[in-house]
Symmetry: C2
Subunit: 537 residues, 2 copies
């Protein structure tokens, strides 16, 4: 009997996936380009042997888990990273056991893990807010700048009871939201409202919240760029919707074509999928392009015409490295086109993890939610309130990022030097790595105009593709795994982000400190040459 | 055409809810005892007028949102709190406009918002970890205790690159998890493993993660106590499962009877609902009971026999106020019964928000996950990794809570005095408020053996119930709203937690500072007498 139940459940899960695919023929290919390469995740078509041995439908096994969880994948922390961690442990125990002496994590936008130092002013204010007892002690003036002491007082005044240990309003401390709104106004030249700000633990929970709100079933779709940051594919999978891909044009520097958006929208309509929102990542992750103002205007008009929510991932707004590009928020673009608050539902995500500040571990961020009706806003507030509030340290940091020291403040010079030092160094590292990739046989790499990544295309020889197939992993995962094993360099295979079928990429961050870059270039070049020598057709 | 589409969608949503109810007749009553009283949430049976005017099925309106979001309710921050915030704004503008001069928030376990001071040692360590540049400066020794400086060094050594601004491992910093595991071992007398610890932003995200994993559809159920903390009902609704209620016995001090668990399990089976897990909140929220060891053993045996995951909400483990009760973790109970790692899937939730530390705003916590197979653990890890990691400040605090100063440490005496001061004061406040409630006409109130709440039962007169019905709100919400309007005291109606149909309760925290308690008792007593005089049958 138990066996029968187990078989029936397995059948049900299979049917679920088969049904899913037959309804969305265009998405069938996703199981390839979002393939789990040799990841720990369960793919949508194969089932691990542990399922076969389960003996009760209600006992815990992969087959009785929520299938949406099984379907979700997140390559940035996928199998290659797990393997890298194991190799790191091995190096600790036996430093001579591998052909390299350290693991170089180029897989994730985590600058502080690679030695980038924090912005002094931000950390001074955080420490004082954590332990306000020292604020009025004389020794404190020897340890902290005058404006950090003043700012800490100001912030504590904004927090009811000065209590950084209390749950705040579910959108975040009102005074901090006012500071952020003022920062947005200063950035855009258009009004911003503290009531539109929802402070979040990094940008990710905000994205999840919007997906949860918008996705009713797999008949609801979200237009996402391909390549995309896999938070989007993971979140859409977890919330049971459909990712409707639009392809960025690699040949024109990852250009975003409105004709492509239209084509994919029509195509999904014809398959019965209702597209609810458009995700735009600007500056691009993993692609590094910065959108031109004219292009942004077209995107706003497209969303307006089609009734789509515009989900604007703007977490790299402070990371622009080329003089001919400038970051413009989508809200600024919409307002400059004359669209007001009620004309267009628009969510802008910002994070303290990126920029030059790179405070990933503090998990701070916000979303600015405009153009939604009051009853929907109430629903967003309700979902936010179930988790009570985001962490106060992250909230404070988000206010600092949007309101840094100004000319005349004691910290201003140090702050400016730190900011300039980090951003100019990132620009140099981006250029060096870009040139290095472009010098490799069969590799082309677009410029990183912004963000923190390069996404070079690797024209893998057929022999390498066949070798990967023999190991049942994606060819770019094959390339990335060998790169790790031979050099200690960790990158993410392009298949984790999505790519035009038949093309292969890797994502490599520009974040290792500058003294490491020559070594990385050298190891990468030697590895690639050896790889090509082995597999060249 | 548009009108037609809108009508059709509305019909679909209605059908969804009707279908849901007809499949689960026992749950129909939930729409009453989890009723949204006069909340901002949409109830499952009525639709706001804005729906009628929507003109396109894909444009944003309540009817095109995820219906699971609409169904979710969270009373702790519901309509009464929203009204309280409005009244507070009014008081600010016009302090004489209301019959009271301040709002007293007894709705939420948020001690720091009511003046409770933080544990000095914890805050010293946090400040030093935030701004390690000052660690080796001479002024620092005048401002911080020697052991907080030493602990900060230790913690920074555990963090790769000393980088509190970096994303950590998705389960949290390994060294901090080792500290927590050692704290669990010291508490329980049984081994704990750092690999079983998942650090989270408070306990709530851990609960969501487990619900997401376990709930496939509304045919999957979770056994939850009634009354329950509404995070559970909210999370089950958001993840599309079914709350299977088991009633705590008010007459025996909110006793948890195994016969009741069995009855509800059988009943749900007969309705085609598969129960996946049992939630136990110990010490109880909102009910304040502390389970007896013998009772806990029965619960463990029940879960073992029925193949249920035991979700143990143990966030109030440090809040026990009566000498004849002691907190025992469910893991300790299971191990003492001889059940080992692989015998029973068990998740224990802990938080830095409760206890005597009360650091709600820092959003720290962990879940200890034992008894799951490696493949399921990989799925939990994957879901955790999509959000990268929990905030480092909360992670550090969780390690401090599980490893406070020891005898001989410079901070020990101050720490012990702070801890003892807070806990003994909470015990006094609990007793005073319990006595006050019990002295009111028609009110009975069980002892708060632990946690932070009283959940008195109010035998409301028929006339009051009719008056509430005339206003289309639950009778206890009617009582609570008038309490707010007349006294400024904010409590949560029992209908937000669930209660035996026909009984009425409120949840009142024991957290206002002691100098406020006499005033609260006085206002409450006067209000209640006036209320009864108006409505007595």
């Amino acid at each position: 009997m138990r066996r029968l139940v187990a078989d029936k459940t397995k059948q049900l899960i299979r049917t679920h996936f088969l049904t899913y695919k037959s309804h969305h023929p265009s998405l069938a290919s996703q199981s390839f380009f979002f393939s789990s390469y040799y990841s720990t995740s369960t793919s949508t078509t194969t089932f691990p042997s542990s399922m076969e041995s389960s003996d009760s439908s209600h006992q815990l096994s992969l087959q009785t888990l929520n299938p949406k969880v099984l379907k979700c994948e997140y390559a940035v922390r996928g199998a290659i990273v797990t393997q890298a961690e194991k190799l790191q442990e091995q190096l600790k125990k036996d430093p001579k056991s591998l052909p390299f002496d350290e693991i170089l994590y180029c897989n994730i936008g985590n600058p502080r893990s690679l030695g980038q130092q924090p912005i002094t002013f931000f950390r001074e204010v955080l420490a004082l807010c954590d332990h306000p007892n020292i604020l009025d002690k004389s020794e404190t003036q020897g340890l902290f700048s005058a404006d950090s002491i003043e700012r800490a007082w100001q912030i504590l005044e904004q927090i009811p009871g000065k209590a950084t240990g209390a749950y705040s309003h579910s959108q975040g401390i009102k005074g901090l939201r006012e500071t952020i709104a003022a920062g947005i106004e200063a950035r855009d030249g258009f009004p911003a409202n503290a009531n539109d700000i929802f402070l979040t633990d990094g940008a990710s929970p905000g994205v999840h919240m919007m997906m949860q709100l918008l996705l009713r079933s797999e008949q609801d779709g979200i237009l996402c760029p391909i390549p995309q940051y896999p938070l989007y594919s993971a979140s859409i999978a977890l919330h049971g919707g459909t990712l409707v891909p639009y392809y960025l044009d690699e040949a024109t520097g990852w250009g975003l074509e409105i004709s492509e958006l239209k084509k994919q929208l029509e195509s999904s309509k014809s398959k019965g999928v209702t597209v609810r929102a458009l995700v735009v990542i600007n500056p691009g992750n993993p692609t590094g392009q910065v959108l031109a103002e004219e292009n942004q205007k077209q995107i706003v008009e497209f969303c307006k015409k089609e009734g789509l929510v515009l989900l604007a991932d703007e977490v790299y707004q402070d990371n622009v490295y080329v003089p001919d590009r400038k970051f413009h928020s989508f809200k600024k673009i919409a307002r400059s086109l004359g669209y007001q608050e009620n004309d267009l539902p628009l969510v802008s995500f910002q994070s303290v993890s990126k920029g030059f500040y790179g405070e990933c571990g503090k998990r701070g961020g916000y979303m600015e939610v405009t153009g939604f009706t009051a009853d929907i806003r109430e629903q967003i507030y309700k979902v936010a309130s179930v988790n009570l509030c985001s962490n106060l340290t992250g909230q404070i940091l988000a206010s600092l990022v949007m309101s840094p020291p100004k000319v005349g403040d004691e910290s201003y010079e140090v702050y400016s030097a730190e900011k300039e030092g980090i951003l100019s160094s990132m620009a140099r590292r981006a250029k060096t790595l870009e040139d290095a990739f472009n010098s490799l046989e069969g590799v082309t790499c677009n410029k990183a105009e912004g963000a923190m990544y390069l996404f070079p295309r690797i024209n893998l020889p057929q022999k390498a593709i066949k070798a990967a197939e023999a190991e049942h992993i994606a060819p770019d995962a094959f390339y990335a795994r060998r790169l790790l094993e031979e050099t200690g360099i960790v990158v993410v295979p392009g298949s984790g982000f999505g790519q035009v079928p038949g093309t292969w990429h890797i994502r490599c961050t520009i974040l290792p400190q500058e003294d490491k870059i020559p070594g990385i270039v050298e190891r990468l070049t030697a590895y690639h040459q050896k790889f090509m020598d082995e597999f060249r057709d």
